[in-house]
Amino acid sequence: MASLFEFLVAAFLVMAGIFGIVGSYGLIKLNDPMSRLHAPTKATTLGVGGVLLASLLHAAVFEEHVSIHELMITLFLFLTAPITANFIAKVHIHRQETRETMPPAGEDDHWATHDKPEDEERRSAGRPDAAQ
């Protein structure tokens, strides 16, 4: 029975290593910046998830204490990875692309991140701290 868990932990570790190396290799290999964004944010996060699963299993089976830390780190990483990816994509869009070079936005005439805050003056006029 122990050998089954041993095999499982080793398999998780090997998979995690492969995911991690694929993610970072995609970062230097892919040509387009927007596709380059995908390799690290998805594959590397999955790699860390594999390492944390292996660690969780190892602690539970071989050291006989269940620790919740790994689960917290996994949860935190899986929650924050899309947010950082969104921010980095926005940085790329605003530095490299204009409204004209973006692909068509479907039923709208431009992408929402290129919205100009046209009513900003009107909005800030109603605020109490905008008097000066």
């Binding site: 041993e6 095999f7 932990v9 080793a10 398999a11 570790l13 090997v14 995690a16 290593g17 492969i18 991690g20 190396i21 993610g23 970072s24 290799y25 970062l27 230097i28 910046p33 380059r36 964004l37 690290p40 944010t41 590397t44 996060t45 790699g47 860390v48 390492v51 944390l52 292996a54 660690s55 190892h58 602690a59 050291e63 620790s67 830390h69 790994e70 917290m72 780190i73 935190f76 990483l77 924050t80 990875a81 947010i83 950082t84 921010f87 980095i88 926005k90 940085v91 790329h92 605003h94 530095r95 490299q96």
Partner: protein, 89 residues
């Protein structure tokens, strides 16, 4: 078996970190640099958890948690600074 798999994962994540470092040096644009730094943070977390697994201690999880939080906050702050010229408006 676990030992060999852990060595394999160590080698993979170390190589991944070197590739991130190479990308930081040669990146054409600042968005790539932010991305490579964020990936480096994630790889550092993986290396710390692996080290904790190899030594069998629980000491490294707090450090990994702190690195995870710092990585997220610093990436968002960097991207926000590039986008708006300001972190908190």
């Amino acid at each position: 078996m676990i030992e060999n798999a852990a060595y394999f994962a160590f080698a993979c994540f170390a190589l991944a970190m070197l590739m991130n470092l190479w990308k930081i040096v040669t990146a054409p644009d600042i968005a790539d640099r932010i991305l490579a730094l964020d990936t480096m943070f994630i790889n550092a977390i993986a290396l710390m958890v692996l080290y904790g697994l190899a030594l069998g201690t629980e000491m490294f999880f707090e450090a990994a948690m702190i690195i995870a939080m710092l990585g997220f906050v610093s990436t968002v702050a960097y991207a926000r600074f590039i986008l708006r010229g300001n972190i908190i408006e």
